[in-house]
């Protein structure tokens, strides 16, 4: 997942040297996530409590 500060560089077709993008390929949770059990991806009906996954430290 990209953060807004990454958008311009990621989309820039003139940026063909990808060294400045390498940090994006490291496993890291960049923002807190909510994980909710649902009945189906077709209706997103909740069937349990939401768990929050904290972001990794910078």
């Amino acid at each position: 997942m990209l953060s807004p500060e990454d958008f311009d560089r990621w989309l820039d077709p003139q940026l063909t040297n990808t060294d400045p993008l390498q940090h994006l390929f490291e496993t890291r949770i960049r923002q807190p996530l909510l994980v909710e059990p649902v009945r189906s991806p077709l209706n997103l009906e909740p069937v349990g409590a939401i768990e929050e996954i904290a972001a990794d430290n910078q």
Binding site: M1, L2, S3, P4, F7, W10, L11, D12, P13, Q14, T16, T18, L24, F25, E26, T27, R28, I29, Q31, P32, L33, L34, V35, E36, P37, V38, R39, S40, P41, L42, N43, L44, E52, I53, D56
Partner: protein, 167 residues
């Protein structure tokens, strides 16, 4: 792998598109699956564009000529980050054909076959901007966008994320 996601035209996705400079609304689409139609943002020297695109980079005409489908020979809806620099399929596009795939959430499943539990995973704040690669395929003048979503290994200790979760 990242196998299903959704887009809901709500203020979070609208904010994301505004940040990206796209003066359009996303279309609500639940349960977007590989081979299905999503929307991507890509940039040329002239502008940024939001377009419908087929989720799988390698596509071909359907045998009955009613549209396009993912190549049955290759699985190209995900690109592992670790292979971006080595795979000829990804390498060239990583340099100049990068896209952002707006999303509201994505899905992972846990449990055994027949007893699987689906999870809806979303950002606590805002929408999700997946990193992807795209291609504009030209089928005899019919320009068809297609894309892949880049995946990363799961965080250590995660019980939700599969080995190639959307990231």
């Amino acid at each position: 792998m990242c196998g299903r996601y959704n887009v809901i035209d709500d203020p979070k996705v609208q904010d994301l598109l505004t940040i990206l400079g796209i003066p359009l609304r996303a279309q609500t689409r639940l349960n977007i699956a590989p081979g299905g139609s999503g929307q991507i943002v890509y940039q040329t020297a002239q502008q940024r564009t939001l377009v419908d695109a087929i989720w799988s980079l390698l596509i071909e005409r359907k045998p009955d000529n009613t549209g396009y489908r993912p190549s049955p020979r290759y699985s190209t809806f995900n690109a592992r980050a670790g292979s971006l620099a080595s795979s000829p399929l990804w390498k060239a596009r990583l340099h100049r054909q990068r896209a952002i795939i707006p999303a509201s959430g994505f899905h992972e499943w846990t449990g055994e076959k027949g007893h699987k539990q689906c999870y809806h995973i979303r950002a606590a704040k805002g929408a999700i901007a997946f990193a992807g690669l795209y291609e504009l395929w030209d089928f005899d003048g019919d320009l068809v966008p297609a894309y892949t979503i880049i995946t990363l290994p799961p965080p250590p200790g995660s019980h939700i994320f599969t080995p190639r979760a959307c990231r």
